[in-house]
């Protein structure tokens, strides 16, 4: 580094990178790694980061106080993870100065989704229908799962915008999937309700979250692992309850 970067600026930079990664659903170790790597590149050799799914703490030895950032919302955004990853690599190689890196990170953090909502809904619908076949369903039910899965995903996105409670959005979306599935079976457009339901809820279920929770536990990030597991259980419960309510009341 040619110019000396102040410790304060470096800490801000580390926190910004960590925040974007955590909000995009990066693994805990990757977030900690990135922050320490940036800090080392700017000459802070001794730094500690502590990352949980809901908050991020970063401190350096010295006079600067430890800083904390609260993470309210988490999604999975692979594009942002890849961006921040490459920026942090360039920082480590000494290619970027602190102001440049900050500008790039801010740009990466503000970037919008690559795909428009209709494309996402179509993708969710296709996923649902494909999973139906993979789980041993019959091609006759393909269209039913396609429509129910797409509608369920669209409902969960829309409900999440108007109510901030995740549980409610997931529960209602699963309820809609269940009702549509029952309707299709009743109308003769589908045959096996159970398979249609499990295929159609696939875009909503927290399979990846459970796997990441166990990966965190294995890596020794106990707090992150447990809280991600709890999050996953709650989501699975919301979806299971949504489908069950549809069956109990309308079958």
């Amino acid at each position: 580094m040619d110019q000396k970067t102040s410790i304060y600026e470096t800490i801000e930079l580390c926190l910004l990178a960590g925040k974007i990664m955590l909000q995009s659903g990066a693994e805990t170790y990757r977030v900690e790694d990135t922050m320490v790597r940036i800090a080392t590149a700017f000459g802070l050799t001794e730094s500690h980061s502590y990352v949980t799914p809901t908050a991020l703490i970063f401190s350096t030895s010295g006079e600067q106080p430890a800083k904390l950032i609260r993470i309210e919302e988490r999604t999975t955004d692979l594009h942002k993870i890849a961006e921040v990853n490459s920026i942090s690599r360039r920082i480590a190689l000494g290619e970027l100065s602190a102001p440049e890196a900050k500008a790039l990170l801010l740009k990466a953090g503000a970037a919008s989704f690559n795909y428009k909502l209709p494309v996402q809904i179509l993708a969710a619908a296709l996923t649902s229908a494909c999973f139906l076949i993979m789980f041993g369903g019959i091609w006759y039910d393909f269209a039913a799962a396609f429509i129910a899965g797409g509608a369920g995903f669209a409902a969960s996105v829309y409900l999440h915008r108007i109510v901030q409670v995740k549980f409610f959005a997931e529960f209602s979306a699963a309820l809609l999937v269940g009702l549509l599935g029952l309707l299709f079976v009743w109308a003769g457009l589908g045959r096996e309700f159970d398979r249609i339901a499990v295929g159609s809820v696939m875009p909503l279920v927290p399979g990846l979250l459970i796997t990441n929770a166990i990966r965190d536990l294995m890596a020794g990030h106990l707090v992150s692992g447990i809280s991600k597991g709890a999050d996953a259980c709650l989501t699975a419960f919301a979806i299971g309850a949504g489908i069950a309510v549809a069956i109990i009341f309308f079958h």
Binding site: T76, H79, Y115, F135, V198, V201, V205, T211, C233, A241
Partner: protein, 140 residues
């Protein structure tokens, strides 16, 4: 069998759209997902669900490391796509649904199986990372 090839390819590559994967890696994502799933389907009858998942996620992990090197993309993009067909999301949903329907014995059974499978996937991915680190030529 061809149905499995086809559907797992489209399931993996369309699922990563929901995770905002870069457009240029969608094809590779689908390919990794497909190969993992096909291996899983091929061997699960012989060795059981959890070991089959372990084998499939190990294959996915190795393919991801390879693709990450070839296409200069972070491993996570391919590994997420690769494990999507394998992750026990549907199973977790089934377990919770049994709980709500008061079938507690079945719910616990499926729940335990879910944990086993999630553990197998995590172990497979970690194992592939370890293998990758061992194969990497040491810098002197």
């Amino acid at each position: 069998m061809w149905a499995h090839f086809l559907t797992s390819f489209f399931a993996a590559s369309s699922f990563v759209i929901l995770f905002n994967a870069p457009k240029k890696s969608l094809l590779q994502c689908g390919l990794v997902g497909m190969l993992g799933w096909v291996l899983y389907v091929a061997v699960r009858g012989e060795i059981g669900e959890a070991p089959a998942t372990l084998a499939a996620s190990l294959l996915v992990g190795i393919l991801c490391q390879l693709f990450a090197k070839i296409y200069r993309t972070p491993v996570i993009i391919f590994s997420v796509a690769g494990v999507i067909p394998l992750v026990p999301g549907g199973m977790a949903y089934n377990a919770m649904r049994r709980f709500v329907e008061n079938q507690y014995d079945q719910a616990l059974q499926i729940g335990a199986q879910t944990l086993m499978i999630a553990g197998a996937i995590a172990a497979g991915l970690v194992l592939s990372e370890v293998l990758n680190q061992m194969m990497r030529p040491k810098k002197i």
